[in-house]
């Protein structure tokens, strides 16, 4: 049976992991490779690295970091943040990323999805959709949630599937950072509307939230950052709990 995936997300700035960490056994949790290895040990099914660095110099350093991750990590990983062109993608895939994720750049120029899928295959194109409830409609927002668009989320999700996306990373900006749980309605609507895998994101605050989103929607995976970073939830405990709740997840040997 295909398992639901648990995906920790690591925010990277200037080559270092952002946000406070309290992993006791980790010598340098600010090093993305060290933190990634810890997550792999805990049983993470995939990893997402988001580069939130602005400058071009640091962007070049990102490729070096991706090479180190690829050399050390034995599960699939996705890299994103500031990807605007097929050249950006080529550098990251060449450095060893399995998938890349694009967000605002895909909204501004949807053909980018088709170009990347054409050259590297749909399986490596994860389109991140940030969405906010505006006048009772889930609406696509860009620039980290600062800029609303005219686009309805369901329509955009269907469109990115048509354009060649292999997966959707769906973040509810209303839930993000609240620790009150994933948006079940949104996740359910979008994952029913498309025939590609959907990753639920935004709002994870406890193990029950993962159970709820997996039980009530047909999303393929759930992503979270801070609850894993701060050591609030250990992925081993989460998977044990989900298994007891009859949600199929990968077991560690």
């Amino acid at each position: 049976m295909l398992k639901r995936r648990i995906i920790p997300c690591l925010d990277i700035k200037d080559g270092r992991t952002v946000k406070g960490i309290n992993f006791i056994n980790l010598r340098d949790a600010g090093d993305p490779v060290n933190l990634a290895k810890e997550y792999v040990k805990q049983g993470a099914d995939e990893l997402v690295f988001l580069d939130i660095t602005a400058t071009i110099e640091n962007r070049k350093a990102l490729a070096g970091l991706v090479e180190r991750i690829a050399a050390e990590i034995n599960i699939p990983f996705t890299v994103g943040g500031g990807i605007n062109t097929i050249e950006d993608v080529s550098i990251l895939i060449g450095a060893g990323a399995d998938k890349i994720t694009i967000n605002s750049s895909a909204v501004r120029r949807p053909e980018l999805i088709t170009e990347i899928a054409g050259q590297f295959g749909s399986q490596c194109v994860v389109v991140a959709i940030d969405t906010m409830l505006i006048d009772d409609n889930w609406t696509v927002v860009v620039d980290g949630g600062r800029t609303p668009t005219e686009q309805l989320t369901i329509e955009w999700a269907r469109m990115v599937e048509q354009l060649g996306a292999g997966e959707i990373l769906l973040t509810s900006m209303n839930n993000d950072g609240t620790k009150s749980g994933f948006s079940i309605g949104l996740t359910s609507d979008v994952s029913n509307a498309v025939n590609i895998p959907v990753i639920a994101s935004g709002g994870a605050g406890s193990m029950v939230h993962f159970r709820d989103v997996f039980f009530n929607t047909c999303c393929s995976a759930a992503l979270a950052a801070s609850i894993f970073h701060y050591g609030e939830v250990d992925i081993r405990d989460l998977k044990k709990y989900l298994t007891e709740e009859k949600i199929a997840v990968r077991q560690l040997i």
Binding site: A70, N74, I93, N195, I196, A221
Partner: protein
């Protein structure tokens, strides 16, 4: 020396990385001579079937690959190209395995992406592996079950998770991305 066949497909570096984590040295090459003299050959790939077959034919690698006598491991698209025919781009493939490759019917999410287990394991690759172990799959086309099938997987319908014919081994999943289980399978191949 282990040769990793270079062609216009992604994922090649991941295989080299996985081998080096296991302590094996490899070269990524499309040089027919290097491939012929290698002790083991890995034929990886994520990509599109017809353009990959064209690349191999232009370099004469299609004939070389079929004639190899040392252990060969095809991965994902590599496995599909070792079959007779792929529906992807209506492509005539190498014909090592007597199986055809079809597009999944759209009754569930496509691609089949993520961790799934396998059933009816047989052969050298699965020493120390159990049917409840999960490996990482990502594919929209599947190889049918045939007499070469050494493990099956069930997603939408049952298909070949791996195959073997004489010295030719292949997996639809990605052992190089399948954590500790994948490393065991790769090791079993390398020690075969």
């Amino acid at each position: 020396m282990i040769a990793i066949v270079k062609y216009n497909a992604g994922n090649i570096k991941s295989v080299a990385n996985a081998l080096s984590r296991l302590g094996y040295y490899s070269v990524i090459t499309d040089n027919p001579y290097e491939i012929e003299i290698a002790e083991k050959v890995i034929f990886p790939g994520v990509g599109e079937a017809s353009s990959a077959m064209n690349y191999l034919r232009e370099r004469g690698l299609d004939k070389i690959l079929k004639s190899l006598r040392q252990p060969v491991l095809g991965i994902c698209l590599g496995m599909q190209l070792m079959c007779r025919h792929s529906e992807e781009g209506d492509t005539k493939c190498l014909g090592i395995f007597n199986s055809n490759v079809q597009l999944f019917p759209a009754v569930d999410k496509i691609p089949h992406m993520g961790w799934n287990n396998f059933l009816s394991l047989k052969g050298d690759l699965y020493k120390g592996i159990s049917k409840d172990d999960d490996v990482y799959y990502v594919h929209s086309y599947y190889p049918e079950i045939c007499s070469c099938t050494t493990a099956t997987c069930d997603y939408i319908l049952p298909f070949s998770a791996s195959m073997q014919y004489n010295n030719f081994y292949a997996t639809q999943y990605h052992p190089e991305k399948s954590a500790g289980i994948g490393e065991k399978i790769l090791k079993n191949f390398l020690e075969s």
